[in-house]
């Protein structure tokens, strides 16, 4: 049940349907989210202003670091099951992964302005025969058949750094509402014969704009 009385009113004013129940599963906060928070937090900004010359004031409803409009940034972890054994299948193909992102917390009024898929692989030693890198393919998971048409292919030079894939404009059109769930089928193929990779983590960085929480820029004082 929702929080009673004034707490419910305050949560609603903050655009939250209800307070999270119980203590969340402990998990590290991604460095990117810390960076975004520190960049926007006025108290941190005051400390920064003492250390650096004043720059242009931060625009409301805009995420400078990512260069997109937005006032809500979410880091969503994948809920799919990974294939830990990177053995090729009988046909010699590397295994596919189905990544499942629960986006039910996103309100219908929120508009997507950035959808970035981030994949971290178990750092592989340079296996013989994997020179030339890899090719990542991303498809939508569908009921029944399982795999829809490939949405995009991206060359991957190394697996030592996280692989980032922009999905807005390919998997989703701009300014469309956010689906309640996003299911993607991922495949990473070595461009030359070689071993398959292990996916360690898949996550989604989702930036949305809730226009109801945006005020028009106040006119500068005459």
């Amino acid at each position: 049940p929702g929080a009673p009385g004034p707490a419910a009113a305050l949560l609603q004013a903050l655009g939250l349907r209800d307070a999270p129940q119980g203590a969340p599963k402990p998990r590290p906060v991604p460095p990117m989210m810390w960076r975004l928070f520190r960049r926007r937090d006025p108290q941190e900004a005051r400390v920064r202003q003492r250390q650096t010359p004043p720059g242009a004031p931060l625009r409301p409803c805009y995420v400078e670091e990512l260069g997109v409009a937005g006032n809500i940034v979410r880091h969503v972890l994948d809920r799919g099951a990974h294939t830990w054994t990177p053995e090729p299948s009988a046909t010699g193909q590397c295994p596919q992964w189905t990544a499942i992102f629960d986006l039910s917390a996103v309100e219908p009024a929120e508009l997507m302005s950035r959808v970035r898929l981030e994949l971290r692989f178990v750092a592989e030693e340079r296996a013989p025969g994997t020179a030339g890198g890899w090719e990542l393919s991303v498809a939508r998971a569908t009921q029944g058949v399982g795999v829809g048409p490939v949405l995009l292919r991206q060359a991957v030079v190394s697996l030592r750094m996280p692989v980032r894939v922009e999905l807005l404009g390919t998997a989703y059109a701009h300014n469309t509402s956010v689906p309640r769930s996003l299911q993607l089928v991922l495949a990473l193929s070595p461009l030359a014969t070689g071993t398959c990779a292990c996916l360690a983590e898949a996550s989604l960085l989702l930036v949305t704009l809730d226009p109801r929480l945006c005020h028009p820029l106040a006119r500068p004082r005459r």
């Binding site: 307070a19 999270p20 119980g22 203590a23 969340p24 409301p60 809500i72 972890l77 039910s104």
Partner: protein, 119 residues
Amino acid sequence: EAEPSVGGGPGGSCRTRRLYVSFREVGWHRWVIAPRGFLANYCQGQCSLPATLPGPRGPPTLNHAVLRALMHSAAPGPAGLPCCVPARLSPISVLFFDNSDNVVLRHYEDMVVDECGCR
């Protein structure tokens, strides 16, 4: 934590008073990652003359408030004095876990009172 008013009542002229909101106090400290709290502040004080006419660095003066204060000083009546309310506010950002264990950063406008004014 709030700055106590002088003499227990809304003492002194209209100005910003310190109010610190602690997320622990409201029981949200388990799911709010940062900040631990923030200075929200509040407005309190008399809006009689000359407080209704703040100095050059204060918020813009509303003619209506001046008229009302003038009327009250000439003949106190039911209209009473103007009210001491927030005149300039600033935003905060909150980093928290939501019900789906996502890490969420939300930006909220008008959360901190920077200046008070008579209205």
